[in-house]
């Protein structure tokens, strides 16, 4: 066990956990930020995607010790009122089915648009390929990213 000082969604937080604990489980079990999801635990599905200093990162493979000193943003902190252009576009296209993968999809999409405001289809495919949607909402995700890119 060790003390870690974290900056999450603009707030500083202290936790006392094993240094190898992935950020995912610190968020979910210790800080009650359960929007970030567990899907595979091996960086293969994208359900656990968060932003680490603005980059999309799989939190299931990020030891807590590596998150210290960085700005962590989770789905809960992406926008104040759920009105980030990506979130708004998600509602406009009514993207989710079961909804489980969607926080991860939104975080990947938001990071993509922050770096590349007008991505091509190929850019979208490349940036989003690490996010599995078992319900198969890929076409709506792509359409929503394009809508969001118009409204940044």
């Amino acid at each position: 066990m060790a003390q870690f000082n974290l900056n999450i969604n603009g707030k500083s937080q202290q936790v006392d956990v094993d240094p190898n604990t992935p950020l995912l489980w610190v968020l979910r079990d210790h800080l009650d930020l359960v929007g970030t999801k567990f899907g595979c635990g091996i960086a293969q599905c994208g359900a656990c995607t968060i932003h680490l200093d603005g980059n999309a990162v799989r939190s299931c493979q990020l030891p807590i010790s590596a998150a210290e000193g960085a700005q962590v943003t989770t789905i809960e902190g992406l926008s104040e009122n759920g009105d980030h252009p990506v979130q708004k576009a998600w509602l406009e296209h009514d993207v989710p089915q079961c909804g489980y993968c969607q926080a991860g999809q939104i975080m990947s999409a938001a990071a993509l648009l922050a770096q590349n405001p007008s991505p091509s289809d190929t850019d979208i495919d490349n940036a989003m390929n690490g996010n599995i949607c078992r319900c198969g909402t890929y076409l709506r995700i792509k359409a929503a990213i394009k809508t969001a890119s118009q409204n940044l």
Binding site: T21, N131, G136, Y138, L139
Partner: protein, 753 residues
């Protein structure tokens, strides 16, 4: 005008107040969660008046509708309340939707599966809405002293034109709630629908996109512990012993013990399928700590002998189920299936003289199709929260079938069923997997042992390797042709491990004079269960690939050929047990021909067509592929669907798109194999799932417009894709694809996958 008797679903009209100690949980999640816009939000009423199990109205006119069925992504939580709202004649903007808990005294059929939610909910929900409306009208008639028949309603407003009286529903709710439930109510005419048939957004959309806790895996209460399971490493193995001390010193670990899901004399039901009835549970202070301990646990496993257990029959009585011993291998499965293909099967249907016709045939076309086991791989792994204290239990988890697990939990815990409250979580996918809710029993047993609330979570590896899989199947089709290429007879022989996929009375049965259908199966200890469109999800692909090849052999256009057969089945059907309507079947083929511009095909795309009937709905699909940079790319998919009235069109299209993506993914990549009883793929690094790049570039879902009562939608678009894709890939590569998944064979054609 349709009048319905309300007696048929009387229990939906029981009021909560009439129930002693009723366990209804009102969560008002919309208040704590997202901020509704002003338009949506008319303020919390001071008091709610319950009109029946589904409907409460506040004094200010706000309406709460309970969605009875568990939600796994098929939109029932939005679509079912839309049906209530339609007949209640309220304004959708005034509606708050709540997930009903499992409450069999108040709701019928709280089951999600078989694409039957809307179909079976249609009349009960319409009746419940119309009944509440009738009671509000009666209340107004009493208050204003006018005849009820002169009163009209519109969007939550009640009016008596002649006297100039007007009120909103909230003003009449308290009186209405005290009135007798009418014996008979009148349903709206379909042409007057103004909610059904208009697209409404997912009622949980805002919560999903802001990461609110919606799923059982997100649940947490004060003092809750975390648990993980350690399961036998392979099918055919069982626990011999384990060493508790191997984990007890580890950080955050509180306890480790074995749990057994079934008492010896318990007669299991159809949905009690459980991969491993005895497992080791590890309990600790956090998910990560119990997952670490899992890796450290030393246990001895042994080969399980053949086992038997009592199975409850559907109509009472019990039979004995047998689970064979042995460690199974995919190679051996394939070899045994090949043997069975050569042997006669059990004849399930015979029309005319098929054997005689095959003997006389000038030509016989024979093809065999196979498909592997598939894992469901819901994105949310199996998990459950349970809080068992003394003889009371609260279970909150992802389940498609709460009714079927409640008795199982009761026997495992040894407490009465009435003391077990099951609350329904939104599910991170289901696809049939969560019809088998052993995870609820597992969590309940753990909580009972530690007498504290617990959340039990499977790792992805547990979820994938202890599955209730789609079986492996094989189907052999034969067609007898005369010297002029006329079709004389048709033969299908289909089987699998451990069940046959045959639907003997579906198309083309009924369209061919001489027809033979045979089935076979091979027992196994690998657990199998419902997987999106069970059996159809394989047999459709086999049948529709074969019909494509047969049409080619006969020199016919594949759509034209199917339409000819359907014309025959319509005008002069063979046999009496055909379970499809040829006209509606033909209707979707005609619609897809039109929407895909089938007759004016572009030369650079390769198209395949397929059509299928299941879950009371008809679907035809056209898939267009191109080879780009040496890679097969699915450019477009056109689907034509006849599922009767479509309640929520945009959400219905979403579901259709998802089923198509799912089908293409499984056709290309889906495969689970076994070595010495153990699945060789345990996570997404090895089990290939369709991803963004492989999804079709465009999908169009078109609905046949008619006034038929709604039928299934979640499953029917899935089965036909396999063949539409295979037939299209044939055009693109010149090779037929008989074996799923297709990717390894495409790679043999030097294509990149």
């Amino acid at each position: 005008m349709t009048t319905v008797n309300t007696k048929m679903n009387r229990r939906s009209f029981l009021k909560a107040s009439a129930l002693a100690g009723g366990g209804m949980m009102l969560s008002f999640a919309w208040l704590a969660g997202c901020k509704p816009t002003e338009e949506e939000m008319m303020g919390l009423p001071k008091e709610w008046f319950e009109l029946n199990s589904y409907i409460k109205i506040g004094e200010n006119g706000a309406v709460t509708l309970y969605s009875p069925n568990p939600e796994f992504g098929s939109n029932v939580k939005t679509s079912m309340p839309m049906i209530l709202a339609e007949e209640l004649d309220t304004d959708w903007k005034h509606v708050f939707v709540e997930q009903a808990d499992f409450y069999p005294e108040r709701f019928d059929r709280q089951f999600t599966g078989g694409s039957q939610g809307i179909r079976q909910g249609w009349t009960p929900l319409r009746t419940a809405g119309a009944t509440a409306r009738a009671m509000l009208v009666s209340a107004a008639a009493q208050s204003w002293n006018v005849p009820a028949s002169e009163i009209t309603t519109n969007a939550g407003q009640i009016e008596h034109k002649a006297s100039g009286n007007k009120a909103h529903y909230g003003e009449m709710a308290s009186l209405a709630a005290t009135l007798e439930v009418p014996e008979e109510v009148t349903l709206k005419e379909i042409k007057n629908f103004n909610i059904i048939g208009t697209s409404k957004k997912n009622v949980d959309g805002q919560k999903i996109i802001t990461g609110k806790p919606l799923f059982a895996i997100d649940h947490k209460v004060e003092g809750m512990k975390y648990a993980a399971l350690v399961m036998p490493p392979a099918f055919g193995m069982q626990l011999k012993s384990f060493d508790k001390s191997s984990v007890m010193g580890m950080s955050g670990i509180i306890d480790a013990f074995p749990i057994s899901l079934f008492k010896e004399d318990y007669a299991r039901n159809f949905f009690d399928t459980t991969t491993f009835p005895e497992v080791v549970a590890i309990v600790g202070n956090s998910t990560w700590e119990v997952m670490q301990a899992k890796k450290n646990l030393t246990a001895e496993w042994e080969k399980a002998p053949e086992t038997t257990f009592p199975m409850a029959g559907r109509g009472g009585g019990t039979s004995t189920a047998v689970v064979p011993a042995g460690l199974e291998n995919t190679n051996r499965h394939k070899a045994r299936m090949a043997e069975y293909i050569q042997k006669p099967g059990n004849v399930v249907r015979r029309d005319g003289d098929p054997e005689g016709m095959f003997n006389k045939a000038a030509k016989v076309l024979e093809r065999t199709y196979t498909a592997p086991f598939l894992a469901h791989n819901t994105m949310e792994p199996m998990n459950c929260f349970a809080n068992v204290k003394g003889d009371k239990a609260i279970i909150y988890g992802p389940t498609q079938a709460p009714e079927f697990i409640s008795g199982t939990i009761a026997q495992a815990l040894g407490i009465p069923k009435e003391n077990i409250q099951i609350n329904l979580a939104r599910m991170g996918g289901g696809f049939g997997r969560r019809a088998y809710s052993h995870h609820m029993t597992e969590a309940a047993l753990i909580s009972q042992k530690i007498q504290a609330p617990v959340k039990m979570v499977y790792t992805r590896e547990d979820d994938m390797s202890a599955g209730v899989y789609r079986p492996t199947y094989s189907a052999t089709y034969r067609a007898a042709l005369d010297e002029n290429n006329n079709l004389l007879a048709f033969h299908v022989k289909a089987g699998g491990i451990p069940e046959t996929p045959l639907h003997a009375n579906r198309f083309p049965a009924g369209a061919i004079d001489h027809y033979l259908a045979e089935a076979w199966d091979i027992p196994s200890n690998i657990t199998i269960g419902a997987f999106r469109a069970p059996r159809s999800n394989f047999i459709a692909g086999a049948e529709q690939s074969f019909l494509d090849e047969l049409a080619e052999e006969m020199g016919k256009d594949p759509i034209e050929f199917r339409l000819e057969l359907l014309k025959r089945a319509e005008t002069n059907p063979v046999g009496e047990r055909n379970d499809y309507e040829p006209k509606r079947y033909a209707g979707v083929l005609e619609l897809v021909r039109d929407k895909s511009n089938w007759t004016s095909q572009q030369s650079n795309v390769s198209r395949g067509v397929s059509a299928y009937f299941c879950h009371n709905s008809y679907v035809a699909e056209v898939v267009d592929t191109v080879i780009k940079d040496n890679q097969p790319v699915v450019e477009s998919v056109y689907a034509a669907v006849d599922c009767g009235i479509v309640v929520n069109p945009d959400a219905a299209r979403n579901m259709g798109e998802g089923a198509i993506v799912d089908g293409i993914g499984n056709a290309f990549f889906g495969e689970l194999t076994f070595e010495n009883g153990a699945p060789t793929k345990r996570n997404f690094d090895k089990y290939r799932m369709i991803r963004h790049k492989e999804a079709p570039k465009k999908i169009e879902v078109h609905f046949v417009e008619n006034n038929e009562d709604p039928t299934g939608l979640g499953e029917p678009l899935f089965p036909p894709v396999f063949a539409a894709l295979a037939n299209s890939l044939y055009k693109a590569t010149g090779k037929r694809y008989y074996e799923q998944p297709f990717a390894p064979q495409l790679e043999m054609e030097n294509l990149k996958m």
